[in-house]
Amino acid sequence: MLKIEQLSKVFYPNTVNEKVAIEDLDLNVNKGDFITIVGSNGSGKSTLFNLIAGTYPVTGGKIILDGKDVTNKAEFKRAFTIGRIFQDPTKGTAAKMSIEDNMITAHKKGMRGLRMSLNSTMRTHFKEELMQLSMGLEDRLKDNVGLLSGGQRQALTLLMTVLSRPKMVLLDEHTAALDPRNAQIVMDLTMDFIKRYNLTTLMVTHNMQHAIDFGNRLIMMDGGSVILDLKEEEKRDLTVAKLVRMFKSIKKKDYASDEGLLVT
């Protein structure tokens, strides 16, 4: 589904602020995979998502999406395959428009024509879809999205993302800005949609328990590269304590080698 070869990204090259965000990263994502990604701030998780989605141009390497080389393709072209949900619930919806206008915009990908697709059949269809969220949004089709709470907006964003039928979704800490109850609701919905539409998923999270509980593969990033890649079998009997221990032992090795450099 997604193949990343020797990917690298350098911000502000040749200046004092030069920063290597991603370094020679290789990643192979199979169709139907659900990969959780953990790592501290600045480890390159978000940059990786931005590179996959096409928000930033790459410095080096290749990105092959669904069999096609998309390394130099514009973000909006890759969006045909990728659905992306951000941490900020306001990023996925248009606040100044009604729920139905938002949904009619999201119901398919690509450029629009002069057809008026929003009719009564569409409205009933939208109501049925909104019913799945069980948030009472089905009775508020004409309300502006700006009036909804963060949890409701993120749930709507999720629904709109699957409405446009992407093959792959990138979830960038999409429950981090919500309270525990709403986070749980949105996470349950996410799992439901991923299963139903067989979506290939990459999910960044700071919740170690989520990273362990969900998905069939876990990746840990640090300093712009993958430092840990656990497959299904290895992931099954993982606990948070074990994961933290693994992270520390890998880091210590780094420190040790750094010290070694300083001594000799």
């Binding site: 990023k91 919806t93 606040a95 428009m97 206008d101 990908k109 450029m111 993302t161």
Partner: protein, 317 residues
């Protein structure tokens, strides 16, 4: 006299709908307007004086406006400069172009030649001439408003609205924001130029300086309209704009007509318009602060009530 204000306001309202599209719907602070309004007047005037027909004249004027809007959007898209600067660039260049269109003159009259406004009194012969002008203009405005309303209910129109509200969402849906911006800006400036083409026929001349200060006047009209009623439906929003435009022209008429009592001259009207916009902004701000304070009070009251109900339930149990 009164009919005159309405005709003036209605012609102006088409321009304000154009400004609405750029400022409110696309969220693009566009100053092209100051140039494209005069472009519309110039193109229509030259087309009429060279006997191309009235419909062709207005179509050409709109097309010229659309080209101006496209250029602004293209500068913004490709050179990655803010919309404001892109608009100023186009507007500045248009000043020279407008004088070229007018054949090297800054002012071209439409005298002793048939225009829409010399035709209306014969078409609508059943009323006196000033009412005929009003009816003709009203019909044109209704036609244009209906077209705009319909457009913003199509899939394309809705996606342009979504772009103005959240550009990332449009990108995520596989639509090029650049293309949508070009379409929106072309439409906006086509309407502005169309309005200019009408005004030239109504006042009987085209002038290279016709567009000066149009953006601010348009914003003033939009803001006045926003005080009238609240809605997220495009047909109400455009209706609000038309009413706002007429009220604005009426206010300016009052300023011109009665202003001399307080020593006001026509050149002071720009200052008045600016102050009007500032006052509108202040009122809008205090209103939104008041409404959020009100909402907070209500929320607190509701939570107190819930608390009381819970306590009562507790006691009963």
């Amino acid at each position: 006299m009164l009919e005159g204000i309405f005709v003036d306001g209605l012609i102006f309202s088409i321009m304000v709908i154009g400004v609405l599209i750029s400022y409110r719907i696309l969220d693009f602070a566009d100053l092209t307007c100051d140039g494209s309004f005069a472009t519309g007047a110039a193109v229509a005037t030259m087309a009429i004086t060279s006997k191309m027909g009235l419909a062709t004249a207005l179509l050409l004027a709109s097309a010229a406006g659309a080209v101006a809007g496209t250029i602004t959007a293209a500068i913004h898209n490709e050179l990655k400069v803010p919309g404001l600067l892109a608009g100023i660039l186009t507007m500045t260049m248009l000043y020279s172009i407008n004088i070229r269109i007018l054949g090297g003159r800054a002012n071209v009259p439409l005298l002793r030649i048939e225009t829409l406004y010399t035709k209306f009194p014969t078409v609508f012969g059943f009323v006196n001439s000033s009412w005929a002008l009003l009816i003709g203009t009203l019909l044109i405005v209704i036609f244009v408003k209906t077209l705009v309303d319909l457009f913003f209910r199509t899939d394309l129109g809705i996606s342009i609205g979504a772009l103005g509200s959240n550009e990332q969402m449009i990108v995520s849906l596989g639509i090029s924001p650049k293309v949508l911006k070009i379409i929106g800006m072309a439409l906006s400036n086509a309407l502005i130029a169309f309005s200019g083409g009408l005004l030239a026929q109504y006042q009987g001349f085209a002038d290279a300086n016709l567009g000066q200060g149009m953006v601010v006047q348009g914003l003033a009209a939009i803001m006045i309209g926003e005080f009238l009623f609240d809605s997220n439906k495009i047909s109400f929003i455009t209706l609000r704009v038309v009413l706002g435009a007429i009220i604005y022209k009426a206010l300016m008429f009052l300023g011109r007509y009665y202003g001399y009592y307080i020593n006001l001259t026509p050149s002071d009207l720009r200052l008045l318009t600016g102050i009007l916009v500032i006052i509108s902004l202040i009122i809008a701000q205090t209103r939104s602060a008041a409404s959020s304070a009100d909402a907070r009070k209500k929320a607190l009251k509701r939570s107190k009530e819930r608390f009381r109900a819970d306590k009562k339930e507790h006691r009963d149990a």
